[in-house]
């Protein structure tokens, strides 16, 4: 390998046969190039889709209740289950370290809002301040409900943008008094929701106020949570699934519900939906790998073909060399050395070019589902080495054939 004489011989041969060398190199370089670009975009898609999910509170876990379908411990089926503040307080205390945002909700299904001569029917919900983040709402004006409102059971109100348009036209709603079912509330904020108009027809009041004013006592309709993300998606998902089932069994025990009753407690874990997207990304990445590897195989076959042609073309030269005293081993090493050398140079060229392209194009790429395509350098380097090895194998068969050429046959060849 480090025989200087042989290197000189190889380099001379390569430099005198530029086209041949170029063609061999091209198939290898393009193979690596395509593989790295594909892998880069696979990663880019993952980055892009992950970013999409980060924008929504995609890890929300909602808990709601219904009617029991099975009798349990002497209780008849058909009982309506209602959660209480106690349930909520117990849960947020127990999972204090894991929870990111949390809120319970008390719903007044038909609330009639009056402002001056305008009126409308909207969904009124009593919530905690965190609810803004569970719903992914942004403030257009004013503020959201805060803990102070909660403490003081203030009669304040946050309205959706659509409600504002319905009731206030072009007036500034902040500070205005609005009647909900005849009771006065002061508007403190207007929100917008990425979910659109339907989501903006809701109004929010402090939970404590709603329970007192609308006769809810200590009842809550449903619960919403998000968990703090873990270092990997897999761990986050595992934790989230565990959390869901723990809540479920806690509530079932507390409200005397049969463990196999599926209709009394409902838990909606959006993270599991997210998982499907991640599975999809995983499949896309696998597909890219398969395509990439096929490309490499095509490259290797290409190298093998070209090496066969080279040997054919050089048959006479090999015959001359043998007549001059070249031993079979030296013919094999000559062909192999050349094949490995060309494959290596071409492989690294393809690698560098594709990495450079990803570096330049990657950060400037602004698409919804592709973000910052990049490739793991170790993976790319390993691929190049595998290709070099494959190139050596690809060169070996032709080299072996070359070494067995009889000088007399070779010399007759014109």
């Amino acid at each position: 390998m480090f025989d200087l004489e042989r290197w000189q011989e190889i380099l001379e041969t390569i430099s005198k046969n530029k086209l041949r060398t170029f063609l061999t190199g091209l198939s290898v370089a393009s193979g690596i190039f395509i593989l790295v670009i594909l892998l880069g975009f696979g990663q880019g898609m993952q980055n892009g889709i992950s970013a999409q999910f980060q924008r929504d509170a995609s890890s929300r876990i909602s808990v709601y209740t219904g009617v029991t379908s099975k009798g349990y411990k002497g209780l008849n089926p058909g009982r309506y289950i209602e959660m209480t503040n106690e349930d909520y307080n117990y849960l947020i205390k127990k999972y204090e370290d894991d929870l990111e945002f949390k809120s319970s909700v008390y719903r007044i299904w038909s609330g009639t809002l009056n402002f001056g001569n305008e009126s409308g029917s909207y969904r009124v919900e009593g919530v905690y301040p965190d609810y803004q983040f569970l719903e992914n709402e942004d403030m257009v004006a004013g503020r959201y409900i805060n803990y102070d409102d909660q403490e003081k059971k203030s009669k304040v109100l946050v309205i959706g943008n659509k409600v504002k348009l319905d009731l206030f036209n072009n007036q500034d709603p902040i500070g205005q008094q609005v009647q909900i079912n005849g009771i006065n509330f002061k508007v403190v904020g207007v929100y917008t929701d990425p979910g659109g108009e339907r989501e903006e027809t809701r109004v929010f009041v402090p939970l404590s106020t709603s329970q007192r004013v609308f006769g809810g006592a200590d009842k809550v309709g449903n619960l919403g949570f998000t968990l703090k993300p873990k270092e990997t998606f897999q761990k986050t998902l595992e934790q989230s699934v565990r959390f869901s089932s723990e809540i479920e069994s806690f509530l079932k025990e507390r409200h005397l519900i049969a463990p196999n009753d599926t209709s009394a407690i409902g838990i909606n874990n959006t993270l599991e939906g997210t998982k499907r997207f991640y599975d999809l990304i995983g499949m896309i990445k696998t597909f890219f790998w398969v395509v990439g590897i096929c490309t490499i195989i095509a490259g290797v076959v290409g190298v093998s073909n070209i090496m066969l042609i080279i040997v054919k073309e050089r048959t006479k030269e090999i015959g001359i060399r043998k007549a001059l005293g070249a031993q079979p081993l030296s013919i094999i090493t000559m062909i192999l050395h050349e094949s490995i050398f060309v494959t290596a140079i071409a492989g690294f060229t393809g690698l560098i070019l594709s990495m450079a392209l990803l570096e330049v194009v990657g950060p400037n790429l602004d698409m919804d589902f592709i973000k910052n395509p990049s490739v793991n350098f170790k993976v790319a380097i390993t691929t190049v080495f595998i290709l070099i090895l494959a190139g050596a194998l690809a060169g070996f068969v032709p080299a072996w054939r070359a070494a067995r050429i009889k000088p007399i046959t070779a010399l007759r060849e014109e």
Partner: protein, 233 residues
């Protein structure tokens, strides 16, 4: 130097077997300049190929410089060729992407000689054949006569015991042929054993001994008065 006893060789071509050499007995002393003559199909090239270890005999013995040449594998054959023999071909057989100098250096490369030494030695042989000024030219920039002289320099480079020439003037015009023959005679004068296969009478008469082959047998083997090629140039 060369001793051959009862040499047989046949080729199979499809279903036909062609008996080319039918028992050749023949020996060459050191310093001889021998021409092997015969019409095409007489087996002269086959004989030379066997002598050159490029091909193997079916039967008979062949001794070169006291070494019996038999049961050769590729590796040993390659060693012997490099050590004992220098080849000169009708079609020159230079490697076309290497300069004259590098072509001459090839046998030395396969002897494992270092580049610097190799180049010096190759240069000395090119000078000997009068092509020192053409050392860095490619074969396609040389005339036929020049190419053959490069080939002769290459054959000499490894300092072989015997030079084997297969129709060395076959692709050259008369004047160039005589120039090449003059060179070969000069090399023979220095004591090198040389075998030439030819079908040209004038070339054969420039050697010291003519062996005539017909249908795979030697029909005539006579010493001749050498005609100096120089007198014709």
């Amino acid at each position: 130097m060369i001793t051959i006893k009862d040499l047989h060789k046949s080729y199979t071509m499809g279903t036909n077997s062609l008996h080319v050499l039918k028992g050749i007995n023949f020996s060459v002393q050191e310093g001889e300049l021998v021409s092997i003559m015969g019409s095409s199909g007489s087996g002269k090239s086959t004989l030379l190929n066997i002598l050159g270890m490029l091909d193997e005999a079916d039967e008979g013995s062949y001794t070169l410089d006291g070494v019996p040449i038999k049961n050769l594998n590729e590796k040993i054959a390659a060693q012997y060729r490099n050590k004992f023999l220098g080849f000169i071909f009708q079609s020159f057989n230079l490697i076309n992407y290497k300069s004259a100098l590098d072509n001459v250096g090839m046998p030395l490369y396969y002897q494992g000689m270092k580049r610097k030494e190799r180049t010096e030695k190759a240069m000395a042989y090119l000078e000997k054949v009068g092509l020192a000024n053409w050392a860095h030219h490619m074969p396609n920039e040389l005339s036929g006569g020049q190419k053959q002289r490069v080939a002769i320099a290459r054959a000499l480079a490894s300092d072989p015991k015997v030079l084997l020439a297969d129709e060395p003037t076959g692709a050259l015009d008369t004047k160039t042929s005589y120039e090449v023959m003059d060179l070969i005679q000069g090399i023979n004068d220095e004591g090198k054993t040389i075998l030439i296969v030819t079908h040209e009478d004038d070339i054969a008469h420039m050697t010291k001994r003519i062996v005539n082959l017909k249908d795979g047998l030697i029909i005539d083997d006579t010493a001749v008065d050498q005609v100096r090629a120089l007198s014709h140039v």
